[in-house]
């Protein structure tokens, strides 16, 4: 098994996601779900694994939605997926065909692309596609839609804020209407970022409040070590102590599989014997790399993109405070530290930004209530980027 940072990972090479997949199937028994995580934490790997290894009573259909620009295009894509499935059963989507015939006044054969005339009726078509799909089998249908927030963002960008919400609402009503239908949304930019901006536009609904939200965790220490060990083997990297080196690699990048691949790849390029010192040195090199090959600078940069001008100074200073503490910091201490950096008595704002930072995977709240960086590696990187002592 070779290190593969960013590329497509063979299913057999996905380590340590079986328990999570089982948990997600259990959730899907009762409701749909939103799978969230930082970019490159392995969401796509997980859902592809689920699609490949779905239980017999589930029909999984996978689609990457990031290139879709309009709601009708989405419906058309779904139609193609459903047709491909029904074609395999030598069936056709009768309801859709009938509806299209009514619209155009002629019989629609071998439809590859929906006629333009159908575009304004995309919601009706959406319902009919799902009905056609559900009618032809007894299994629960699970639609895995990767990069859903991108699509909503595209639609919003092209047709206005309302169009994105309209689609999300339509999907929710389908979920409510059909008990054998489940949806799995995943996305790298975070659905809440898209929905938040819609809310700012006055939209009050929460279109995913019927779905469970699960955050993809990093690998467990054991699985992370196993991945590192397999990569060391696959790349024929010489070590004094294979298990020890694998453990150091796993710990150094907090069990994040993408970074384990990256780190091993860097070690391959470095050549020679690898030990814990070499691993630590490589991590330090990557954290201070002017080319930012681990893409850690975006943790700083995206504060400017996703946080409003009012929220920004709070976010930056909270992260500065937490990054310089070796232990988790209780709310009062965070607030007090902020007061020595900002002129503020607005504790509610601090609470709100803390919540946003948690949702954006920067920080976590311990059971004691205190806050700390979610990943020590990101904490270290933040300190370095901000030149903090």
């Amino acid at each position: 098994m070779k290190a593969n940072p960013g590329g497509y990972i063979a299913l057999s090479d996905i380590i340590g996601r079986d328990a999570l997949a089982r948990r997600l199937w259990r959730i899907l028994e009762r409701q749909s779900l939103v799978l969230t995580a930082e970019r490159r934490l392995g969401k796509t790997c997980i859902i592809k694994k689920m699609v490949e290894e779905a239980p017999e009573d589930k029909l999984p259909i996978y689609r990457d939605l990031e290139g879709i620009r309009t709601a009708p295009e989405f419906v058309e894509t779904l139609f193609q997926d459903v047709q491909a499935y029904l074609g395999g059963l030598e069936r056709t989507a009768q309801r859709v065909r009938l509806f299209l015939a009514q619209l155009s006044g002629t019989e629609v054969g071998g439809v590859f692309k929906l006629p333009d005339i159908a575009a304004p009726h995309w919601k009706t078509l959406l319902t009919k596609i799902i009905e056609d799909l559900l009618e032809h089998q007894d299994r629960m249908v699970v639609l895995f839609w990767d990069e859903m927030p991108y699509m909503i963002y595209n639609i919003k960008h092209r047709d206005g804020e309302g169009a994105g919400m309209e689609l999300l609402d339509a999907l929710r009503s389908l979920r409510q209407m059909y008990s054998r239908l489940r949806m799995v949304f995943t996305g790298s930019i975070g659905l809440h970022n898209v929905v938040t901006s819609l809310k700012r536009e006055g939209y009050a609904n929460d279109p995913t409040n019927d779905m469970d939200t699960v955050e993809v965790p990093p690998l467990t220490p054991g699985d992370a070590q196993e991945l590192a060990r397999r990569l060391l083997d696959g790349e024929n990297i010489q070590t004094h102590n294979h298990e020890g080196t694998a453990q150091t690699i796993a710990e150094a990048v907090d069990g994040i599989p993408y970074l384990i691949h990256h780190l091993v790849d860097q070690l391959v390029q470095r050549g020679g014997m690898v030990d814990a010192v070499a691993v630590d040195h490589m991590v330090d090199t990557c954290l201070t790399d002017p080319h930012d090959r681990w893409h850690l600078r975006h943790y700083r940069e995206r504060i400017d993109i996703y946080y409003s001008p009012d929220e920004r100074p709070f976010a930056l200073n909270i992260l500065d405070v937490l990054s310089t503490s070796s232990q988790s910091v209780p709310f009062d201490d965070v607030f007090n530290s902020l007061k020595s950096r900002l002129v503020t008595e607005d504790s509610e704002m601090v609470r709100y930004v803390l919540m946003l930072l948690q949702r954006d995977h920067y920080i976590v709240q311990q059971t004691s209530g205190a806050f700390s960086f979610r990943f020590p590696l990101i904490q270290k990187s933040w300190k370095l980027q901000r030149s903090l002592p």
Partner: protein, 857 residues
Amino acid sequence: MRPTFHSRFTPSMMAPETLEALFVQREILAQRILSLVRDSATTSSKHHTLLIGPRGIGKTHFISLMYYRVQAMDDLHDRLLIAWLREDEWGVMSFLDFLLRIFRALLADYRDESLARRVESLYKLGPSAAERAGGLLLKEFVGNRTLLVLMENLDDFFGGLGDEGQKRLRAYLQEHPFITLLATAQNLFNGVSLQTSPFFGFFRIHHLNELTLDDATLLLTKIVNLREDRELASLVQTPLGRARIRAVHHLAGGNHRVYVIFSQLITPDSLDKLVEPLVRTIDDLTPYYQARMAWLSGQQRKIVEFLCDRRHAVAVKEIAKHCFISHQTASAQLKILRQMGYIHSVSLGRESFYEIHEPLMRLCIEVKKHRGEPIRLIVDFLRLWYSHEELQQRWALLQDQDVLERECVYHELRVSEDDTEDPRVAACMKDYNAHVERDDYIHALQVAEELVEIRGDAWDWGSKGYCFGNLELPSEALACFEKALELDPEDEWAWIGRGEALDSLGRHEEASTSFDRAIELDPHKTWALVLRGSVLGGLARYDEALASLDRGIELKPDDAHAWFHRGEILFALGRYDEALTSLNKSIALDSKNALAWVSLGETQGALRRFQEALTSFEKAIQLDPTEVSALEDRAKTLVALGRMDEALEAFDTSIELHPDQAWVWCVRGEVLGNLGRYSEALSSFDKALELDAQSLCVFFYRAEFLLKLGRWAEAKIALNNALRRFAEDDEHIAKHTGGIVSALFMSTRTNPMWQTRLKTLLKLYDNYGLIATLGPGLVESISALKSATISEATARKWRDVWRKLVGDRAEFQLPLRLLDAATRYYATPDQRILLQLPVEERKLVEPLLGVKEPLGA
């Protein structure tokens, strides 16, 4: 016939053999990428690699080479297809365009008529239907194989695709993982580096390095081999050839393409053969640099032009002011230009200065700006190529009809009269200093050789000598310093260097004279005073040495070396307290000198402050883990502290690093003996003898340990050998004889055996006139009687044997008296027995008996 077509701008047109023949610097990367392609073709994993580097850095060469190498992997033929999108795939504006380019590349390589027909039919569909159908067609055509897509200028390509096209491409790659991408780009771009972009974190990114001077030399060697140009091949190996390559390096800033173009200019050794090809080369290169300018935005171009005009590094503030842009904008644009390899920055304190990365780019742009007047450029170039003197000679030979040359040379001479610094020398000096600063004396020597070739003054010869000296080649260094002094007999640095070389060659008196001469020329030359002090110390002329060092310290009180050598001299004089002060002072000034820590430890050891000594040696080892004296001294100190096991470990570490130190094997043997591991000790001594150890203790310990092992016959020979070799050194023999007598006592318990063996012992000592040393040896052996296993009767028997054998010999009367007292004391530990001895005799025997509270103490 061997293909030799060598394209400077389109490497993709070159034959694979030529690409291989000219490939330098990146073989490891090539192997890595090939292994990833293989992994992608043979497993369901798919790797995506992006190579980043500015134009001319060799990206197309690399991609072309990869294409041919992958094509040659026969075992992948059924598993892999390759679509090589050429460098200038203009007009890709959508995902559909991308699919069509792939089809075009596949059709060019695989000539599948059915695919051609089906691709043609895509044009009958509308764009979105064609895109979908094209996607399905590609998937179908590739089937269960993997498609390797080689693509250049990914940044432009993504720019054309736009956000939407990129998202569609990524979605396609995610849904149909049969494609593996190997792409290049000039710099990191938002399409891959912004967290919100679809391809964020998607590629394994590799930044291509520029050529180093060594790589450039290799590249040029490969070029000349390809051209079978013997003249150039031999020139490249000479200092003159290297100096010219260095000049190109100075101009080209590590750009592969420029080296390839300039390779034709390296050979000509006369100016008339250079100017015309040079003008032609500049003419060739100008469109290339113009094209590079065309890649830039208006604002970026403005900055580059401004930097070209300035001809030196400029601060951001000044750039912003002269380009009428804000400081912030200037910084942002400069960052991009730096990533794209157009400029580089130098930081001084908190300020950054920027200049054009490739001087040649500046020169070529100037040609266009000053039409019809390429003089300044050629003048600049000539100054890099030839010395002022060479040009003067050339000027004298030029005929009236050589108009262009006369004009160029005239300008150069005029410019160089205004500015006497030879730019070639400046380039060499810059590199020389950089190498010396990194302690890289091999490369520094190469530059020094070039300096000798192009200028050849005393400084250059001195530099060459300095490098040889640091490479531990003192004879070569000496020859260089002699040459330097021939050129300038008053060069005090050369006298110093000469002195150092002579010192290394063991010619200390001459070295001292050489330093004297340097001091005569400059009485304030601290370094010479210090070195002279050190050499005089080595000659045991301690007073003169101290005077020289004190003078050095007077001139430069913070000279750590002076304090260090002073400490060493004081140590040698046995003035340990003063030595300690001096060495502490040296360490306070320079705590990184491992040898100073060693000397400090040795001084502390001499003062019996072993624990402190141990810390000092450990500090020295920390600074230089291979410093032999520190390792050995640490081990010896552990022995002194009685920490034998650790000492043994320390000796083993020392031996691992320096296995040829005979005396370390000796001491290790002693330690093993101390630990009762006599056989191992003997092996250690054998190793010491193999290394030609001449130490007395090895021979005596061998005899002693053989005795302890009961190997009497061998012990007898060993003892005879020891006595024969060191008969003159009776003082040391006396010390070791105690061990021998004790071992003999312990070797048996029977009277007859003792008698026989003692007779032999007496005979041996008599033979070498050393009988007087046996008495003290007998006294030393008294401590052996203390052993719990020795009964009172045995002790008495031992005494009686001695009495019998030497009772009548005057030199044994005192030892026998002490032995008798000791025997009786062991039987009845009553101090009154000892009181019967005169006080001076009592004092001798009390420590041997282990009396804790000596009488009259």
